[in-house]
């Protein structure tokens, strides 16, 4: 419903294909992470979805609008936050920027009052409403930008690196806000980021793009499963077991043995975690165990490494 893109090609400054055969659909109400290394074509895609860029060929439909044909109608339906660039007026106090946007988006006064009060409360804008935007901290500015993007109640929100440069507390606050927003108002969110914690907190589905092509589109759990067959199981025995010789088993790998704590690696396609636990039970009484999920960073870097640079160059 949000974006149905078919075979998009965009020409950059020197006839470089920035995005090639990128095709996806996003149903209303979903939060989708759109990730990829620098220069992969993330921003180009978002710019085509907002109508900023006109693709050389292909189709895009956002809430029924072709972005570059009906740019201004679409603008009422979307909120945009570019982490690196504010939508606010640098020299104006935040509150005046919001007033100006109210005028541009033709938000009725009563509605504005309500939205403004809500944004002020949820994003804690009160302390810096009257501060010129250029004097705001990055975290404050980002909250201001979010308030600005949501003033006209868009059903769709594009976030291009919304947490870039923020400290952990500010990042967490923004993530919580976005999760709430999606839950309570059903706002569809397309999010690009380099911070995979954003993705883990917010997105069930991720689209990974590299060299202008989609290399993964699906849920995070499946991606993880697909790319990391190996899991680590850490077992705490009641007492230090006899040293486990690696030669004992060739289907498990003993990663480390430190007193009563033993860490083993196993292939998920051969063993399930309970099976491994049962095997390890043969060496002593198990007191506690933890399974480590592979870090998402690891998954993504494997994904990037596996993608071939096709479709670039003219």
């Amino acid at each position: 419903m949000l974006g149905a893109m078919r075979g998009l090609v965009d020409r950059g400054g020197t006839e470089v294909t920035a995005v090639d055969e990128v095709s996806f659909d996003i149903p209303a109400g979903e939060i989708v992470g759109y990730i990829g290394p620098n220069g992969a074509g993330k921003s180009t895609t978002i710019k085509m979805l907002t109508g900023i860029l006109v693709p050389t060929s292909g189709e895009v439909s956002v809430t029924g609008y072709v972005p570059w044909e009906q740019r201004r109608q679409l603008a009422q339906q979307i909120g945009v936050v570019f982490g690196q660039r504010t939508q606010l007026w640098w020299d104006l106090p935040l509150i005046e920027s919001l007033e100006l946007l109210r005028f541009m988006y033709k938000v009725p006064a009563a509605r504005f009052k309500q939205r403004f009060a809500m944004a002020t409360e949820l994003l804690h804008l009160e302390p810096f409403l009257h501060t010129p935007v250029r004097q705001l901290s990055l975290g404050q500015r980002m909250r201001g930008d979010l308030a600005a993007a949501l003033l006209h109640e868009p059903p769709i929100l594009y976030l291009d690196e919304p947490t870039i440069g923020l400290d952990l507390v500010a990042k967490t606050r923004i993530r919580e806000f976005l999760a709430d927003l999606n839950r309570s108002s059903g706002v569809t969110i397309l999010l690009t980021t380099h911070d995979l914690a954003d993705i883990e907190r917010l997105c069930k589905r991720i689209i990974v793009i590299d060299h202008g092509r989609i290399i993964h589109d699906g849920d995070l759990a499946r991606l993880r499963a697909q790319f990391t067959a190996t899991r680590h199981l850490t077992i705490d025995f009641d007492s230090t077991p006899d040293p486990i010789a690696q030669g004992d088993r060739n289907d498990l790998r003993i990663v480390s043995q430190d007193g009563p704590r033993v860490k083993v690696a196993f292939d998920r396609s051969i063993h399930s975690a309970p099976q491994v636990l049962a095997i390890m039970g043969g060496y002593g009484t198990v007191r506690d165990m933890t399974i480590e999920e592979p870090a998402i960073e690891e998954v993504i870097s494997q994904l990037y490494a596996g993608s071939k640079p096709t479709g670039t160059g003219a």
Binding site: G51, I52, R72, A75, R85, L101, M104, Y105, K106
Partner: protein, 240 residues
């Protein structure tokens, strides 16, 4: 300060013009007062157009800094948003001077001022402002493709205004053609002035030529408007 500086420069121009008329009795059959009137008319139009398009002249900066993106994601006309991007008072000096010259000219020339003439003068000034604003917009349009080499267009904006301050028939016919039929400055300054000052047309255009000013602007703005829409569709944005 800038207003003061502009004033000095323009004032010096008037002194030069005055000295010129000490050497020659007239300029292609136009008296000093008549040329002053034409100067005033052209200056008022130019400064009004420059003011209107002041924000539009910042489009090259907006594009270079990537800030044009944010204009395009809002539901308001990109042109109007560019227009209000920057408002400046620097044009009021020139505008005041233009009005002063225009008034001096009107009082000293030997033509009678009738209500239709005055009414048409308002139309002509508004049309002229529109034309110059459109000319500045051409600069903005070109900046969508080339950010740095748009100064050539200044030959037509500032050049057009300078040329409009003198009787068109003293120029070479190639110039006359360009400034009538390509960039219709001549139809906004010179031809209406023939009517205001009751002067014959030495170039032999049809009798309605002094009255095409608003239509010339309309046509020119129409073409420029198309150009603007075309430029927006070819906007390339900047990285990230």
């Amino acid at each position: 300060m800038q207003i003061f500086g502009n004033f000095i420069v323009n004032f010096a121009e008037i002194i030069v013009l005055w000295s010129l008329f000490q050497l020659f009795e007239d300029l292609g059959g136009w008296s000093l007062n008549e040329v002053l009137f034409l100067h005033g008319l052209s200056m008022v139009m130019f400064s009004a157009g420059d003011s209107i398009a002041n924000g539009v002249q910042t489009v090259p900066d907006l594009i270079r800094d990537g800030n044009f993106d944010r204009i395009l994601v809002r539901p308001m006309s990109a042109y109007i948003q560019s227009m209000v991007n920057e408002v400046s008072l620097r044009h009021f000096g020139l505008m005041g001077q233009g009005l002063l010259l225009l008034t001096i000219g009107m009082v000293t020339v030997e033509s009678t001022w009738t209500v239709p003439k005055l009414a048409y003068m308002v139309v002509v000034i508004l049309s002229g402002a529109g034309l110059f604003a459109a000319l500045f917009t051409v600069e903005a349009i070109l900046s969508f493709w080339t950010v740095n080499s748009i100064e050539a267009v200044n030959a037509f904006t500032y050049g057009g205004s300078d040329l409009g301050q003198y009787p068109l028939h003293i120029f070479h016919r190639g110039m006359r053609f360009v400034f009538l039929f390509v960039i219709p400055v001549g139809f906004l300054t010179y031809y209406p002035s023939l009517y205001f000052l009751d002067k014959p047309d030495p170039l032999g255009l049809p009798g309605f030529a002094p009255f095409v000013a608003p239509f010339a602007t309309f046509l020119f703005c129409g073409v420029v408007g198309r150009g603007w829409a075309f430029a927006i569709r070819h906007y390339r944005s900047t990285g990230s």
